[in-house]
Symmetry: D2
Subunit: 366 residues, 4 copies
């Protein structure tokens, strides 16, 4: 069945395959009155573009976005915003082996099991190019959040064994280093490590962290639609993510209550917390502190070393993947994680606007 | 707004507060023809019942479930199954301090920020008692899954620093040890650790693991409704869970591709994987291997040590929580995690039944 | 699959069978801060109660509602409001013939075709008692709408060939006449007609009209979620309704454009329309005029005349229905139509609160 | 908020404005394995194309559809099917007056009230061109239904006072007459009537009927998601539709129970009904008889006679609409009604596949 839609009030529906004609997204529920041009979105798409560094695939993809609907005279109209990126540089001829075999670590086998066959060219819908729609929608969500005083920043926390030292946090480095690390020294070490991986025909994983500031207390809904639950779904839905943490995350499971609890404190009537082990969410609802989450990303499954697997006739074979593949997924996924977080937070903020009867009467009886 | 509903085809809507008249769940979309009696559900509810061991709260709660609709002559009819548990043992008099203060690590402050006030008795809707509806629905989902050859088993993986040794895995221990660990030696150590926590007026966290066997390849939907994304939301929505892992989870982010990839192998035409680092899900779709997930649970926020916080007038105060509180949430949350996994897997299996045109024509043209 | 839930932000999930233990509804998304007591809901339920007049079934049903959750100290908390009515007067012994036969005009055959069997006692889930949940939720929605300045009034427009004369419109008559007509003279004639139907062991249909005043212009969403489309679904979902009209409805299909168009007019800057053929909705969005809709209700299918039909073994048989059945459904459905309209309008008003970016910035940046 | 999505398992999301770059639809949940090419869809789009007869607007629009995703080697893959039609012939210069005024019978005023401004060119999103996405998706749904043995046929039942005589029913006439009537004599009379309307600078309404054959008994869900409720929403959501009838519809409200009830009859074990007043749906679930519905369509609001209205400064003005406008909407809406019915029926059939536990066990345990 379906599966390509996300959100309740700010709803997105992405579409498109790696080697199809185009990829895109329809945003249904974008509020009217937002100034929006293609450049707003292009900036985000360019952050996921390949062909930029020695560790990214040398494909040249322009990935130029076109706004097809929902914007009139430079402003959103409240009707669906349709965004499209034409595919330009795909070479389908590379993929004959993939058609016949199930690559380890890829979804090939699962798609065949589900649908009976698959678009094997470049992974089809399970390709990383699927994220174009997410990022295009994330650019719109981020622009709206910014007008509300909410900002998001995702970056590479670690690559393989190399972690960014947060005491050296340099926000400019996120956009300028090839690893998207906020620490130039760690970036250098990570690049060394990645070269080693490539020489060994191998790949590695890493961690992306996202910090969301300016979210007021009270966002998120009880029970199933907790803000952290929605974020967990949003982030885990990004291909290759295998774990999601909120705040202290896995460390919370080894902590004592007296360590893990964050004390509330009032300074001249302004409420904050002395610490933020909770990562800005308590009981599924934002507490006004920065929201912090981490995505653990597995290594690129396309490695150039020979691998044992089966073909589509269920025969055991050995394959050696060719072509162009990044040794690490993390840097290009940073903007994807940030985009999914933005879409989730915006949707939760919109949903929160009917939480109290007084909100309705203030709106309709003024 | 809303937030208490979960699922697309097997839809549940829970309701009820800790100290209200009752708690319950409506299951909308339960298939007709399932033999179902109250005992089927009671068995699951009893697994989350307090008052059973030295580490659980000494409250006596019968938590007897009543089937109010959707079952006729012992069989589900296809119409909504309404399940209710009356509250019996709540003492509202204990909660005057909570009414006036925001407990660290609890949702008190966030509920007030969202709704303007809250039902402060026992945490209201943010209480652990909210999970009664989840577990009642999980019992129904599990019974259906069992008829389909799918089984789930959740257990305590670790408590504080004490981890179960999986080489000593003893399935009977899960239901009989106070910690729900599958390793009696670790259970003993964990109980020692918990007593120490209690003596220090402190609490601790832990990890729950859930293994789902028998899920055929092909379950889950691409992009946003990936099976792991749905599971991540389901599990993260359980109160106190701060991280969710699938398969190798956080370790995948430090692995190499050649280590993390699982080789497919065919033995007499039967496909399996040599390893299961992926935890049974690739590209968001099940691969036929056991599905493995872990929930990281924070320490019980209600600790008896004095804590700094603020009151509802935003004044700094010190509180010392009284009453009855488990030093660890994990054992009673084991059946909750299992229930949420069951509901998610069943819903995904139901959604999968329209994935191919041939499924429709087989169904309607036979 | 499911089917017992309605609404996007003000979501209801009803449950319960005619002869089960109880019936009820869970409202998920009810705004916090609404004063609510059982009496508020009981008043609405009493409007659909049988046993009140010579044309209604002589069953005595108390239909007392119980608020099980979501209200604390007399005010809604923002969490699910669970409402329940216990069944008290059901006699299951009357229904042996129904178990074996498919009554013409009833859903018996269809439920068996869908589910393989059915709860045959009193129609089970297809009974008119199913509307208890709708009306209970409608009472809550109406109370909220009233605080927003929106009022609803449904009444019987016609019974069989007898129509209310709107020039004699008497709002008090709606609540006091047995037919719920707003015209006492028509009420008298309709009662005569109904007695004639009963003497002839027959039944008849009728028309319910609902007028909604105070809805501001701008409510409803484009394309599929048009306000009239949502109302059409809401009203057609009431059992026995076979047609729904908005404004001039079927007459619009025979009108000329110059007749059917409503001129806008400005009087001292206040916009209105000279006529209201559109029934308050243009392009699916409210225009600020009263919203007018009509539901066409079929005759009670349970007639006491002998009828040809088949039994569950597909054998041709003749049945004569016994028991207690109203000769007309309309009067008891009036409050159901009003309730469904209230739920729909409230949900649309809530959805509208995020239509413009300025609404978000006004809300979050003040 | 949103509003451009429809369906639960076969989900569509349309987008696009009359004078934007393009219009389209994303189908999320289209089953894999359907042979699909652009010609399949083009045939349906051509049925709504203008410029074909004397009563349709003389605009030349090619309305050529492009399949952008979801089809691989001529077959659907199970992933989103994105369909797009580029706008080619729009002249924006015609619309300066519309920008300044609110046309009677149009949504101009309501869009401004909702969003603060509107894309005034050709009605923007409220234009009849919005239906391109519906019809493109309807073509896909119809092709699937046909493989399941379900066929749909919509036609013009009446135009103004001229009704088709069903005793002269000629299925070929539907596709070949300018009115889409199944009766060539009525078609001739209707064309005369339309010329008269045009001469009088006026327009008229009409009725569309749709017959759906081959739907097995058991389709549709109880309570809110009744098959007739879903159809009512689907059809009422088509612009200009002001009433929806199922089966005898409005006539049922004036009938007696003995007249309106359809007797079930068994002939050699095959169940049917002697009559079909119910229009194939009882209690919201299909009964195996043909499903019959009617849409009442208002007159084209764009008439060339002068009309009183207001401008955007709330001043009273008189306007005379220019440009190209059909005197009747009905013929071009026939395929839209058929498409919406197809999408609704297919979705209901897909939802029905999990109604019984035995369906799940048959599917997963074979």
């Amino acid at each position: 069945m379906a599966g390509s839609a996300f959100g309740t009030l700010f709803k997105i529906n992405t579409w498109g395959e790696s080697h199809g004609k185009a990829l895109g997204v329809v945003i249904d529920g974008c509020p009217a009155g937002l100034p929006l041009c293609e450049e707003d979105i292009q900036i985000y798409l360019d952050r996921r573009k390949p062909g930029q560094t020695s560790i990214a695939t040398p494909r040249k993809e322009s990935d130029s976005v076109e706004i097809l609907s929902g914007v009139f005279e430079g402003t959103t109209t409240g009707t669906p915003v349709s965004l499209m990126v034409r595919n330009t540089s795909q070479k389908s001829s590379d993929y004959s082996e993939i058609a016949a075999c199930y690559r380890p670590g890829h979804a090939d086998y699962c798609y065949d099991a589900k649908y009976g066959f698959r678009d094997y060219r470049g992974g089809g819908r399970s390709s990383g190019r699927e994220t174009i729609g997410r990022v295009a929608a994330g650019a719109v969500a981020s622009k709206i959040l910014n007008t509300m005083g909410i900002t998001l920043s995702a970056y590479t926390k670690s690559i393989g064994p190399v972690s960014a030292d947060m005491s050296r946090f340099d926000p400019e480095a996120i956009r300028t280093t090839p690893t998207c690390m906020p620490d130039r020294i760690a970036d250098g070490k990570a690049m060394e490590y990645l070269k080693e991986c490539m020489m060994q025909k191998d790949s590695c994983g890493g961690v992306i962290e996202c910090v969301i500031e300016g979210v007021p207390a009270g966002i998120g809904d009880p029970v199933f639609d907790k803000l952290d639950a929605e974020l967990a779904k949003a982030i885990m839905s990004v291909g290759a993510v295998k774990a999601v943490e909120i705040g202290d995350g896995i460390c919370a499971s080894q902590a004592r209550g007296t360590q893990n609890n964050d004390s509330f404190v009032s300074r001249e009537g302004i409420v904050s917390k002395k610490t933020n082990h909770a990562g800005g969410i308590l009981g599924g609802i934002s507490d006004g502190s920065p929201i912090i989450l981490r995505a653990h990303v597995k290594p690129t499954p396309s490695v150039f070393s020979p691998q044992e697997t089966i073909n589509t006739r269920n025969e055991n074979v050995t394959i050696a993947i060719k072509g162009r593949h990044d040794p690490v997924i993390v840097p290009r996924a940073v903007v994807v994680v940030e985009s999914m977080a933005a879409i989730t937070i915006l949707d939760a903020c919109m949903r929160n606007m009917t939480a109290r009867l007084s909100y309705l009467t203030d709106f309709y009886c003024k």
